[in-house]
């Protein structure tokens, strides 16, 4: 396949993100036509339109952008790290750790405060991160970390299931838990933006310059180190940054599957495996995918959650991939 040059690829995906963001701002219970949208963005026009845009739509769009970019970048890192194009951000147990934290807070009736659930989720995700980093610091191999991730996923999954069972009698709490586990960015506020966006931007800023080193790592740790990369340090940086990205995304959007798997994969097929390009392109692609998958959830009330839509898109994609490339 002929690969598009980087500038063109960035421009195409940039436009896609812009379009998705505008659609995300325009569509919803009350549609904002282009003129109202423009006026409201400039702080003019109808007060209702301004309130809808600034207090409801914009935070939701920004959270979607941040979550998608974070999951896209985290997926790229995981796939290069494990030298497996089917690796995903949830592989090391970070998102299931975050899920357990959030579910524990919801089961304890913590949905009242805006910060409780995200904070509990971040705590859970960072506990998982801490466990993984401890192993990585001791120089554990990629296979070792992968198995640790399997163990953590099972452990946190069991905890989450137990809490769901325990709160089954409390209809409201169990409803909230189930909704949270399906992921979503509705009713997000500027506080959510403040919780996720700065950390995600910071982690991305540290991650983007590591593209060249990721290329070397993707062709083997020994080779990378012999060519001049401090592999131990790089591994540690990569695990830290990708888990922080996943943790923050999970904290504000719940469990959103498949974005971190599908987007880097598609970007690699379309634009080649060079991680210097792949990182920014996957961040843009992830942001666009989350915003686009969020759109149908606004019109079909009940049942269709963001995590459901991303899985509906991602599931068939993965099946197609497995058919093309037998394991």
């Amino acid at each position: 396949m002929k690969r598009a040059p980087s500038a063109l690829a960035l421009a195409i995906l940039g436009l896609l993100v812009l379009g998705a963001a505008l659609a995300s701002l325009a569509f919803g219970d009350a549609a904002l036509p282009a003129r109202d949208l423009g006026a409201a963005l400039l702080g003019q026009g109808d007060e209702l339109a301004r309130t809808v845009l600034w207090d409801i739509r914009l935070p939701r769009t920004l959270v979607g952008l941040a979550v998608g970019a974070a999951l896209g970048a985290s997926g790229v890192v995981m796939q290069a790290f494990f030298r497996n194009p089917l690796a995903s951000p949830g592989l090391l147990g970070v998102s299931s750790g975050g899920a357990l934290g959030a579910v524990a807070a919801l089961a304890a009736g913590g949905a009242g405060s805006l910060y409780t659930v995200p904070a509990a989720s971040i705590l859970g995700a960072f506990l998982a991160t801490g466990a993984v980093m401890l192993l990585a610091r001791q120089g554990a191999s990629a296979e070792h970390l992968l198995l640790a991730g399997v163990a953590l996923n099972a452990l946190f999954g069991a905890g989450t299931s137990a809490l769901i069972a325990l709160s089954a009698v409390d209809v409201q709490a169990s409803g909230q838990i189930l909704f949270w586990l399906m992921g979503g960015i509705e009713n997000r506020t500027w506080e959510h933006v403040a919780m996720a966006l700065p950390g995600i931007l910071l982690a991305a800023a540290f991650l983007l310059p590591l593209g060249r080193r990721l290329n070397l790592l993707a062709l083997g740790e020994g080779g990378a180190q012999s060519l001049g990369v401090d592999v131990r340090r790089l591994r540690w940086q990569l695990i830290a940054l990708s888990t922080v990205l996943t943790a923050l995304a999970t904290a504000v959007a719940g469990v959103v599957g498949f974005v971190g798997l599908v987007v880097p994969h598609l970007a690699r097929l379309a634009f080649g495996p060079d991680h210097r390009r792949l990182l920014p392109l996957s961040m843009l692609g992830g942001a666009a995918l989350v915003l686009l998958c969020d759109l149908p959830t606004r019109f079909i009330s009940g049942g269709l959650r963001l995590g459901v839509v991303t899985a509906l898109v991602g599931g068939p994609f993965l099946l197609g991939l497995l058919r093309r490339r037998p394991c």
Binding site: R83, L219, G220, G222, G223, Q225, S226, L227, G228, R268
Partner: protein, 240 residues
């Protein structure tokens, strides 16, 4: 240029002393599991080990990673192809420590006879072609010390001969090379041979002097006879 004293890796390598100077091209021989790859990885600083390793008179742990990439190149036994990087990009990775992507890359592609593959993805190559790509990456570093772990595995006879000729030529230009191989006959083309057996260095010297029938019997448990027979040679000096 490369020196090791009492180099040990628990369970795999025991108290190896060796020194390789500029202009030497050294064959590393031994049966499976004798410690050839372990020795090369340890010398390259890729394995935790005991003892002392010096590159150009400097203790290895004191040399910053980036500088290591300019001083010594290591070709591992594997030629990974999990991602579809184009051949030219893989070879250019050899310049990472110099931060000058394309320097000498074309000449290296030429030397390994892979110029015609430069635009192909490594995932589409045969095992032997991929081997030459990774060898080219090691060569592109321009490092004066080259450690190659079975560079000729999966190469056809002509390309294998070219790799050995290339090794000789690099040595003539003042490089130091340590090359592990299984073809004992090829070792006679080298200036020196090391023989490892169960993690110990059991012979070190000029190939004709050390690779005796007695040694081959005790290390490889084979009966060897020295005969004159068909010896493959390259028709003309290889370009490098």
């Amino acid at each position: 240029m490369l020196r090791a004293e009492a180099l040990s890796v628990p369970g795999r390598l025991a108290g190896v002393d060796l020194a390789v100077g500029a202009g030497e091209v050294v064959a590393v021989l031994g049966p499976n599991g004798a410690g050839k790859s372990t020795l090369l990885s340890a010398l390259a600083g890729l394995l935790p080990c005991e003892g002392r390793i010096q590159w150009s008179g400097r203790d290895l742990p004191r040399i910053p990673f980036l500088e290591r990439g300019r001083m010594l190149a290591w070709l591992g036994q594997e030629s990974p192809a999990d991602f579809a990087f184009p051949v030219r990009e893989v070879v250019a990775q050899g310049r990472y420590a110099w931060n000058d992507d394309d320097h000498g890359v074309e000449a290296t592609l030429e030397a390994l006879d892979i110029t015609h593959l430069a635009g192909r993805a490594i995932t589409q190559l045969s095992g032997g072609e991929r081997r030459r790509v990774f060898l080219a990456r090691a060569l592109a570093t321009g490092a004066p010390v080259q450690l190659w772990d079975e560079p000729a595995s999966s190469l056809d006879v002509r390309h294998a001969l070219e790799v050995y000729a290339l090794a000789r030529k690099l040595a003539d230009h003042g490089h130091a090379l340590l090359v592990s191989l299984h073809d004992i006959r090829a070792a006679y083309r080298f200036s020196r041979a090391l023989v490892l057996d169960r993690g110990r260095l059991v012979a070190d010297g000029e190939p004709h002097a050390v690779l005796t029938a007695d040694l081959l019997r005790s290390v490889f448990r084979i009966e060897a006879r020295f005969v004159t027979s068909l010896v493959p040679e390259l028709p003309e000096p290889p370009c490098a």
